[in-house]
């Protein structure tokens, strides 16, 4: 058994969670856009081990569901028709990680579709849509965080290293960016674009927007670190033997910012996933039928859905383990950087 310490344990947890979402095709029983008009708004099915006669079965099964007579959205279990749950079944074709064509799914059933987390208005499987939706939301969050950090590090390092009026100017711009009412500016920005945009365009637009908005905070943090690193004796010493600015930044100053950048990344990714969800919820994100966590939640804007079908809230819960993982990683990284600093200072006076 390998012993993992501190942040590595959190990183492993995050990698596993992302792995599940990345391999959505395998874990999801169905294609996320496949409709089943017979079963709209079907509540999550119950998985049984004991049948109506009280017999125990080793293989879990569920009952086929049908509309209750005289109702348009109330389903009941058909107690004669027990359908066994099968594992590693062959079903809809998908590309694993976008590369390898596969047909094997973790579970499924033969005679009827199984809805572990219910279905939506078109009878699409909610579980499959949550898993596939995670791909869009998480990727948007990660790319957005990457873009933000890139801009933040560039601007922060420039401001901190050059100092003087250029530092002042860049930091005022950063403050301006923090002060703007972003959500409403996004609406305005959206108004300039054509009415319908393709899912790919919309996806990159979202990344661009959340990436451009968030750089101010990491830029200020990086600037602070660079500002103090610039005055370090080892940077002075390197300048003393003739190092150029770009060498100093690359070799001595930017490595000092690495722990700040990592911690910021761990904080920014879930924050930007949430931003993607907000934008998609408001209809500014990736359009139907491609699922994302935000657009899945958009159906809650209808009052009837909001009060009648509780399983439509489930996409909101999907982010919770990811959020916990990232926040745990962020605080573990912070703690790590803290102890490293303490060890170093102690080492400095250990003569």
């Amino acid at each position: 058994m390998i012993q993992l310490s501190g942040w590595k344990r959190w990183l492993l947890a995050i990698v596993v969670l992302h792995g599940i979402v990345a391999c959505a095709g395998f874990f999801a029983p169905y294609d996320p856009t496949e409709q089943d008009r017979e079963h709209p708004y079907l509540p999550p099915m119950r998985i049984h081990l004991v049948d109506t006669q009280g017999h125990f079965h080793f293989r879990p099964f569920f009952y086929a569901e049908q509309l209750r007579v005289g109702s348009f959205d109330q389903f009941e279990e058909h107690s004669q028709q027990a359908i066994p749950l099968r594992f590693f079944v062959t079903g809809a074709r998908y590309d694993l990680l976008g590369l390898l064509p596969f047909r094997t799914h973790l579970f499924g059933a033969e005679a009827s579709r199984v809805y572990l987390l219910g279905s939506d208005a078109y009878g699409r499987d909610q579980l499959s849509r949550i898993l596939y939706g995670g791909q869009i939301s998480l990727l948007a969050g990660m790319l957005g965080a990457g873009l933000t950090l890139l801009i933040g590090v560039l601007i922060g390092a420039t401001a901190g290293y050059l100092g003087g009026w250029r530092d002042g100017l860049l930091m005022r711009v950063a403050e301006l960016f923090m002060a703007l009412p972003w959500l409403y500016l996004l609406f305005a920005l959206r108004a300039f674009l054509p009415l319908s945009v393709s899912p790919v365009q919309a996806f990159f637009l979202i990344i661009l927007v959340i990436g451009a908005v968030g750089w101010a905070r990491p830029a200020r943090l990086v600037r602070g670190v660079v500002l103090s690193a610039r005055e370090r004796d080892f940077v002075r010493a390197a300048r003393g033997f003739g190092a150029t600015d770009s060498y100093l930044l690359r070799r001595h100053i930017l490595p000092e910012t690495s722990s700040v950048i990592l911690t910021q990344a761990a904080i920014l990714v879930p924050q930007f996933v949430l931003a993607e969800m907000t934008l998609s919820f408001l209809g500014l994100g990736v359009p139907e039928p491609v699922p994302s966590w935000g657009s899945l939640l958009a159906s809650l804007q209808q009052y009837s859905v909001l009060v009648s079908y509780w399983w439509m809230y489930l996409p909101a819960l999907a982010i919770v383990p990811f959020f916990l993982g990232y926040l745990g990683l962020a605080s573990a990284l912070q703690q790590d950087a803290g102890t490293e600093k303490i060890v170093r200072t102690a080492g400095g006076s250990r003569w």
Partner: protein
């Protein structure tokens, strides 16, 4: 004697803009003049805050004096621009007080000592490494420790690393800014002897900055005493130690540890 470094009427003022009201000015150096002969050692002695380190940074071309003139190796370096300075800097190397801060903790001993050569683009990779290993040997760092990171060395060894790094570019002038002050006595003595040996062998010129008159008397040919940004007394080492003219000098000499104090400067009763 041929003078390697001539400092003439150097002034350094730091302006600090205050939130409210006018700009505040701090004068770190005021009308400082002295010179160092090629191959000799000048000790600059003063209490903390007397401007010694600012002077060191000005001479090492890491800070620009507000006014005055510094002539190094017959070139006036105070008029050079940033690009030209980058060419002068390797000839004047500065060893800082605290090697824990002047050596990047992420670097190995070998990387640290060969970094100046890398930056200067001198030699190829293998030659650099050989040269760095030779330097480590010169300052008494065992070869098997060459790949250890800076933070794994003791304070004395780190200061040896810092000296080896400063020597790697074969500078003409070595400024030691309180380079021995943080070390304990036996290590101080070892490094002081190392410095003297290197001076004899390589013909180095030292500007030795300290608050310790005993060490100054031991190492230097000349001593300059600083107080509040000014040089108040300057002369041959035994003259300054024997017949101090200034109150500060007498105070600093009195602060020397008794045994060494008597050995170097029998006090007039």
């Amino acid at each position: 004697m041929d003078r390697l470094l001539i400092v003439e009427k150097i002034e350094k003022r730091y302006g600090r803009a205050h939130v409210l009201g006018a700009k505040q000015e701090v004068t770190a150096l005021l009308d400082v003049s002295f010179s160092i002969g090629r191959g000799s050692t000048l000790a600059l002695v003063g209490e903390s805050g007397s401007g010694k380190s600012t002077l060191a940074l000005c001479i090492a071309c890491l800070e620009r004096p507000t006014s005055g003139k510094i002539v190094f190796n017959r070139n006036e370096i105070t008029v050079l621009d940033e690009k030209q300075l980058r060419e002068v800097r390797p000839q004047i190397q500065l060893v800082f007080q605290d090697p824990a801060r002047s050596l990047n903790p992420r670097f190995s001993a070998l990387e640290l000592v060969s970094e100046p050569l890398l930056v200067q683009g001198r030699l190829d990779k293998r030659e650099r490494e050989a040269r760095a290993r030779a330097l480590l040997g010169q300052v008494g760092i065992p070869q098997e420790k060459a790949l250890q990171r800076a933070e794994e060395f003791s304070g004395g060894q780190r200061q040896r690393l810092a000296i080896a790094r400063a020597l790697s570019l074969e500078p003409k002038l070595l400024i030691l800014d309180e380079a021995l002050s943080a070390l304990d006595c036996s290590v101080q003595a070892q490094i002081a002897n190392l410095l003297m040996e290197l001076q004899g062998r390589l013909g180095l010129t030292y500007l030795f900055i300290t608050h310790d008159f005993a060490m100054a008397g031991h190492l230097a040919h000349e001593i300059a005493v600083m107080e509040q940004g000014r040089v108040v007394e300057i002369g041959a080492a035994d003259e300054v130690l024997g017949t101090p003219n200034q109150e500060v000098t007498r105070r600093l000499i009195a602060a020397m540890p008794r045994l060494t104090a008597e050995a170097h400067a029998p006090r007039a009763v």
